[in-house]
């Protein structure tokens, strides 16, 4: 009997307690079919690309085979045809997508790590520290980011993937820092932060154990959307010829083949798949980001 009662209480409890964290996000995705579809699509896409990239032999694909020049899709095992130098487009697409995604992830992690840490420190301490870093951020934001990245890349004699990641990340942390700072500024003046102080908790622990989780709704959205942005920046730079060196395929370099008018007009299989992949991925990530944003705001929630 006693046991029975306890069970009923537990049952009622689980029904009556409001959904938290992950549950809210899940409900939002269940309500929004497009976001659910995008989420599954984006995850599938990334996983497929990563798995195939491991299987595919990059050296073999990048071999120049003049006999296979401009092979059309579907001919002789070339699923998406071959380019000017007879290299398999499908293989290039997979490796390019892998490179682009990995670079975007690395930039996102690096830039957001710096942005979030700095934003929380600024918001928590306020005063001089806040002013000092805000002026630096203001300065960075007035700079034409893309131009500077291009100039830096031109100056550096030889650069690889790591350099590219660092350079782009160096210009991407400001907006996150500003956003986090504004939220942290209001959140850090709340009573529970003072209460934590009266327990003798150190500033560091308060900032990253107490304050950070309370900004998580904002951060999830910010990180997701900035990931989409970073894919765009990397492909854009590569397209302009300032991203990855031509020997390393990325979605941007593949699209940049379209700068050749002949390829643009008659060899669609060289540039269209990469363009479509970028479009689909960006759209998908943005739909996911939108759903997360709604989940973070009780007024906009659908579920």
């Amino acid at each position: 009997m006693e046991n029975n009662n306890a069970q009923t209480v537990d049952k009622l409890e689980s029904q009556s307690s409001p959904p938290t964290g992950i549950q809210v996000i899940l409900r939002e995705f269940k309500k929004d079919k497009l976001a659910m579809f995008s989420l599954i699509g984006v995850i599938l896409l990334i996983v497929t690309v990563m798995v195939l990239a491991v299987v595919i032999d990059q050296a073999k694909i990048m071999n120049i085979q003049l006999l296979e020049r401009f092979t059309e899709p579907g001919v002789r095992g070339y699923i998406l045809g071959a380019d000017e130098a007879g290299r398999d487009m499908f293989g290039q697409l997979i490796i390019g997508a892998k490179n682009s995604i990995l670079i975007a992830i690395a930039i996102t992690i690096l830039a957001n790590f710096v942005g979030i840490a700095l934003g929380i420190i600024m918001g928590y301490y306020g005063g001089f520290i806040d002013n000092f870093f805000m002026r630096i951020i203001d300065f960075f934001i007035t700079l034409p980011t893309l131009m500077i990245i291009i100039v830096v890349i031109t100056i550096i004699p030889s650069y690889g993937i790591m350099d590219l990641i660092l350079i782009i990340a160096a210009f991407q942390w400001m907006s996150t820092a500003r956003l986090v700072r504004s939220k942290a500024l209001s959140e850090a003046r709340r009573d529970y932060i003072s209460a934590s102080k009266t327990m003798g908790t150190s500033d560091f622990a308060i900032m990253f154990k107490g304050l950070l989780p309370n900004l998580s709704s904002l951060l999830i959205v910010e990180v997701t959307l900035s990931f989409a942005g970073n894919v765009g920046i990397e492909t854009g730079l590569s397209f302009l010829g300032f991203g990855l060196p031509p020997s390393t395929p990325s979605l941007g370099t593949l699209v940049s083949y379209a700068m050749n008018p002949i390829i643009l007009s008659s060899k669609w299989w060289i540039w269209l798949p990469a363009s479509l992949l970028i479009l689909i991925m960006m759209l998908g990530i943005n739909y996911v980001g939108q759903a997360l944003r709604r989940a973070a705001d009780a007024k906009q929630r659908l579920g």
Binding site: A195, K197, T198, T201
Partner: protein, 338 residues
């Protein structure tokens, strides 16, 4: 009245000033108070009189950018005013516990109850994980929370107001502090829960023998639990006495007006007594003369002291200014000498 050995906390000439447009205005002005062991010292006064500022000054919660704390707060031969954050962190939570007014906003919404109570134990004790967990359950049990196992795993929004305040008390008690500062602990609660929380505070105090500074604007609460009372007005202590003395024999016009404005169920007069005027703002507050004079304009200026000081009118009973001698309520005729 008591020997020095019983003194836990001694506040001497404390002045906490806020910066408003490059000028510092004291919100707590020259306050001296003593807290003894196993005593509940109530600090009462209306909104804006500096009660909470005083409390937050003791635990060093003020932002040094726009606040200046001067004077001495002596605890264990240390002046708390001069401590660095690192030094203070050793005291806070361990020697001094703080109970906030609104338990909902003072609990981290994304941390489980158990974790929040554990926080102080992590910093101040050498207990291991299981010992800490047991202590958390013990504390929750001590503050009268049923089904401790479950509550420890819940989030603050899943508890009722009274339960949350009990959790706050459990957090404050976790380090068995010598001093507990309770900043209006019952204001956010309804009356029945208030009584329970006050009873709880009193019982727990008997157990751990700590001194409590109870900040409140509710004289009913004061009468119920306090041993000694300090009445604050506009940043100054204007009267200090034992609770019996204060309620039987209030001297200062402000204290008397406060006592008169408590709603009474048995009074025939349906109009609630009010003190006319408002507490002057921090910027406009007259820094000289009796600060209460503007709210009792029918008392001649000559009755006030030029620089009002605390006078001992009876053993342990301090009153600021001399205006109480000539004070009478506006609707009364002539002076009533007490």
């Amino acid at each position: 009245m008591s020997t020095n050995t019983n003194e836990l906390l001694e506040i001497r000439n404390l002045r906490t000033s806020f910066r408003i447009k490059d000028t510092y205005y004291p919100a707590v002005d020259n306050v001296s108070l003593t807290l003894r062991k196993n005593e509940i010292l109530a600090i009462v006064g209306e909104s804006g009189c500096g009660k909470s500022t005083l409390a937050t000054s003791i635990v060093g919660l003020h932002n040094s950018i726009n606040t200046k704390v001067e004077g001495e707060i002596l605890y264990n031969n240390q002046n708390l005013v001069n401590l660095t954050d690192t030094q203070f962190n050793k005291l806070r939570g361990n020697d001094i516990g703080f109970i906030f007014q609104d338990p909902l906003s003072a609990l981290n919404p994304l941390m489980r109850i158990g974790e929040q109570i554990e926080e102080g134990l992590v910093y101040h004790t050498k207990l291991n994980k299981t010992q800490r967990e047991n202590r958390v359950l013990e504390l929750l049990d001590q503050v009268g929370i049923p089904n401790v196992q479950r509550v420890a795993k819940q989030f603050p929004h899943q508890l009722s107001g009274g339960m949350r305040q009990r959790v706050m008390i459990a957090i404050a008690l976790s380090g068995k502090p010598a001093i507990i500062i309770a900043d209006e602990p019952t204001t956010a609660l309804d009356v029945t829960i208030q009584a329970q929380i006050l009873d709880l505070l009193k019982t727990l105090q008997d157990e751990i023998q700590s001194g409590i500074i109870l900040i409140t604007h509710d004289l009913g609460v004061v009468a119920e639990v306090a041993d000694r009372v300090a009445v604050m007005y506009a940043g100054e202590v204007i009267e200090e006495a034992s609770v019996v003395e204060l309620f039987r024999n209030p001297k200062h016009p402000y204290t008397r007006s406060l006592l008169k404005s408590i709603p009474q169920t048995n009074s025939e007069n349906e109009q609630l007594e009010v003190i006319q005027g408002m507490v002057p703002s921090l910027v406009k507050l007259p820094r000289q003369g009796c600060r209460f004079s503007s709210r009792i304009p029918w008392i001649p200026q000559s009755a006030h002291e030029e620089n009002p000081e605390l006078h001992e009118v009876a053993p342990g009973h301090l009153v600021r200014c001399t205006c109480w001698k000539e004070f009478h309520f506006e609707d009364e005729e002539g002076s009533v000498n007490q």
